[in-house]
Amino acid sequence: MRTVAAKSLAEIIGRTRPAGDGFARKDVARPEWTALAVGCAESWHDLFALWFEGGRMRMALIDRGAGRRAIVSVTCVRGAYAAVGHYHAPAIRLERAMRDLYGVKPEGLPDARAWLDHGRWARRADGKKAKAPEAYAFLPAEGEGLHQIPVGPVHAGIIEPGHFRFTANGEAVVRLEERLGYVHKGIEALCAGLSPDKAARIVSRTSGDSTVAYGFAFARAVEAALGIEVPARAQVLRGIMAEIERFAHHLGDFGAICNDASAAAIHARCALWREKLLQAVAQAFGHRLMMDCIVPGGVAVDLAEEAGLSEALDAAEKRLGHVVRVYDGSPSILDRTVSTGIVSGELVHRFAAGGFVGRASGRDFDCRRDLPYPPYDAVDFKVVLRTAGDVNARAWVRIEEARESIAIIRKLLDRLPEGPLVADIPAGRAGEGAAVAEAFRGDVFVAVSIGKDGRIAHVHARDASWFQWPLLEAAIEGNIVADFPLCNKSFNCSYSGHDI
């Protein structure tokens, strides 16, 4: 039984006004911090991010019903604070990660194991000596006839590294436990002390497949911190880039899901039209993945070639229609995707899982609509929702979102204003800002603090995958081992984005 009563964001924040970025900021004491953690567990508000910065633990919370968002901070006493994960499981991995990077002590955290630290670093993120290596104890699964299947970190395909420990009874998976952190690159420490422009290049590579979304969120966080007005043309171009990224991944991954259900022809089609689109993107923006095209203050490149881009999008949309008809008319594929890897609505709400993982299980949340930012605040679009929560539902959400993306791009191209591309970054101004961007796989949150010297004091980027990876463990339970690739592909969580 819980001994702490939940408190709502409204009770704690009171009259504290939100900053320009929409987040109210408040320092709280331990009892209020704990009450907010219990509020997360009671679904009064969503846990959006949790990180360590300058001696404080900070937590971004969103109360969608009341339309409030806040960043609350608690000062660590002798490096310790009350663990949110004690009350609210989705916080556990985030708190294990912060403990590894900064040595902070989450009191009452139910999991004492390291997460990002595999015992291989000489120093940790704060420069202090890292811990000695210790054996990683996977959670037990006991019973007659159970066997374990260890997979990774080097996987069989062209995939990022991570370890999956399956416990199976014959073909049926009894438990999957993930172990991640293999591609931890120390992004927060690398960015400290850099100019926003230099840090943008690193943050944009947190997860290279979402480079536009990361660039977008980081730029908006810097702009909020320093009070920069972004030119109208840059705002619209950012939206176009973000939707191209979304469309390209939805198209390619839909093909890859079909490939895992042995429909290689659909995969080849999708890969072909994705390729043609990326070639047009290279013509339009100078880079196939649009890396470093979004910079703090605006965009670094103008749209060079619109006709080719429109043509490639039209063609890709038409072909998407073809392959979707094949998908929907193929019992052999649907037999693999329907009712496979189900995630319950209860779980996606508890974990505040974003992106198609949340929306395929009925969580009606999309940053573009719910935490609106330019240019989406001036564009109509549909947020696609399904409730079945299986591989098929996730595939359909992606198909329909891909179509929406095309519609958004057309609207934005129609109203692309003339004008400058980038605003200057003012010198001698300090501040902190937070921002979100809806990446193809869900919400990316970036919080940045900038010192008076114009250098990054701290940056924290939280990928949507943090709240999706744990649900994959739930999705595969009771399914057969052979369906794991299909389930995994239907989630397509980021390793690099998670491992920071």
Binding site: R124, V154, P161, K185, A189, T206, R288
Partner: protein, 175 residues
């Protein structure tokens, strides 16, 4: 079916002609082969991809060389699921401390003769991640590298050229 046949007749395949391999890449590959090729491999090389710390950008472009436009298999290059089946390791990323041992063990599990292609700026010199406490170093600091393909990420055509350099050098050596 009629539409399919018509398309095939009128539009032709999506696949592009083979790219020309730059002389420097070919020279790099040839010297690598001269040193270690002990038998005729023909035009067939099996590739095992290893992400040793990449941001996943390079992986997207490596995926792309399998698409119908680049169609890497027409050159006898296939991606395999195990290092034990591989002739070539295609390695991406700055090697993180957490991946260092996995990369070394993958290399050890690959039978001789074997080659390593480092793909991307991070694999070459750690790129934007150079200097991090979590990064062990470029790929060449952990295992021997034969061919390097630069870029962030390198476009598929560049990756294809790097691999073709190995194939062409192999064939030249066998003659």
């Amino acid at each position: 079916m009629r539409q399919l046949l018509l398309n095939a007749l009128l539009k032709g395949p999506a696949t592009i002609p083979a790219p020309k391999v730059p002389a420097d890449m070919l020279a790099q590959a040839a010297s690598a082969l001269a040193a270690r090729a002990r038998r005729k491999l023909g035009r067939s090389l099996a590739i095992r991809e290893v992400d040793a710390g990449s941001c996943n950008g390079c992986e997207l472009e490596i995926h792309a060389i399998n698409n119908p436009v680049y169609d890497v298999e027409r050159f006898g290059l296939t991606f395999v699921a195990s290092p034990r089946h591989a002739d070539v390791l295609l390695v991406t990323g700055p090697v993180t401390h957490n991946m260092r041992e996995a990369l070394q063990r993958t290399y050890a599990a690959t039978p001789d003769p074997k080659w390593v292609v480092a793909v991307g700026d991070c694999a070459h010199d750690c790129g934007v991640f150079a200097g991090s406490y979590a990064v062990a170093g470029p790929v060449s600091s952990v295992i021997p590298v034969d061919v390097t393909v630069k870029g962030c990420p390198p476009p598929p055509l560049e990756i294809l050229k790097g691999l073709l350099a190995l194939v062409e050098a192999t064939v030249a050596k066998a003659r």
